[in-house]
């Protein structure tokens, strides 16, 4: 009779989240929360690092331009390097921000769905998981293209250097 019942429920609702699946999802939500929070801290540290390094570069170049002011009267390169450094860190931070945000949303919604048995929260959690995985997939494609370009440039440089020798 129980088998009949379980067969009936599975045909009514399709796949169900049983206690084992629930345990896996609870653990996943904990790990993703950790990853998201650690990610946000790393983004903050990256931006602080960018500002500190750019000010160090600025100070070093200022000293250099003071000693060699006749040869290098223009401070344009210093400002350009500093700005580039800050832009680089902000862009990296922005790229890293979105997967952290989506994993945090996945974690929060999954936790609520498992605690209260809310079907809507479960749907939102899976939606955020899908967005995270898609985002990471697209980032990996871009990374692979850049690596391929890097390898081609590297091989061309090596062959040019060999031809000079």
């Amino acid at each position: 009779m129980e088998i009949q019942n379980s067969q009936q429920s599975s045909s009514l609702f399709g796949l169900a989240i049983d206690p084992n699946s629930k345990a896996h999802l609870t653990e996943t939500a904990k790990w993703t929360k950790f990853l998201a929070i650690a990610g946000f801290i790393i983004i903050g540290l990256m931006i602080i690092y960018g500002v500190v390094i750019s000010s160090v570069i600025n100070r070093s170049f200022s000293r250099l331009s003071e000693t060699m002011s006749e040869e290098y009267p223009d401070t344009y390169p210093v400002t350009a390097v500093r700005t580039m450094m800050i832009i680089y860190m902000v862009v990296l931070g922005l790229i890293y921000f979105f997967p952290c945000l989506f994993t945090l949303r996945f974690s929060n919604n999954m936790k609520l769905a498992l605690q209260n048995g809310e079907q809507e929260k479960l749907a939102t959690a899976f939606q955020n998981l899908k967005i995270t995985v898609r985002y990471l997939g697209i980032l990996t494609i871009i990374g692979l293209v850049l690596i391929a370009l890097g390898i081609i440039t590297f091989l061309i440089t090596i062959s040019t250097m060999r031809s000079f020798h």
Binding site: L12, D18, T103, Q127, K130
Partner: protein, 153 residues
């Protein structure tokens, strides 16, 4: 007792049509991510070997004494080791993603709860793996900063 079993299965969370569609899409992207990740890992390993060879070629040229050659050799081997380690770790992470993707697709196609359980375990392993790596990375960074600070003092 039988009624309790029925009611608990009626009110537990389920993978409805909406969730199934989302999960299927997530599984598809996870498979793409995994395959690309494996390619990424292999490229990392190749890049490490290329880098080591390039540095060895440079140190083998004129104008380098034995001491410089030895130092460059150590740097080249270290860099190759780091690249190979990064490649292997990327491949392991990708295998977890592939496991999740394959099992989730199969579970949704066959309506099999056991396979769904396996896929969710794969998803947990994937995130746990990267989280543990992040903890290790942060610990190594903190140690590096502390050691750098102590040397500076």
């Amino acid at each position: 007792m039988e009624q309790q079993t029925t009611s608990s299965s009626l009110f537990q969370l389920s993978i409805d049509a909406n969730n199934a569609s989302t999960l299927r899409s997530a599984a598809g992207w996870a498979k793409i991510l995994a395959v690309l990740g494996i390619i990424f890992g292999v490229l990392f390993i190749i890049l490490g070997i290329l880098f080591q060879n390039a540095l060895s070629n440079v140190s083998g040229g004129y104008g380098y004494d034995d001491e410089s050659r030895r130092s460059l050799g150590i740097v080249a081997s270290g860099a190759m080791g780091v690249y190979i380690l990064m490649g292997i770790l990327t491949i392991i992470g990708s295998i977890f993603a592939l496991n999740f993707g394959n099992k989730a697709s199969t579970a949704l196609r066959t309506n099999d709860s056991n396979t769904l359980r396996g896929s969710l375990a794969g998803l947990r392993n994937y995130f746990a793996f990267w989280a543990i790596l992040m903890i290790l990375g942060l610990l190594i960074s903190i140690l590096g900063i502390a050691m750098g600070g102590m040397k500076g003092m």
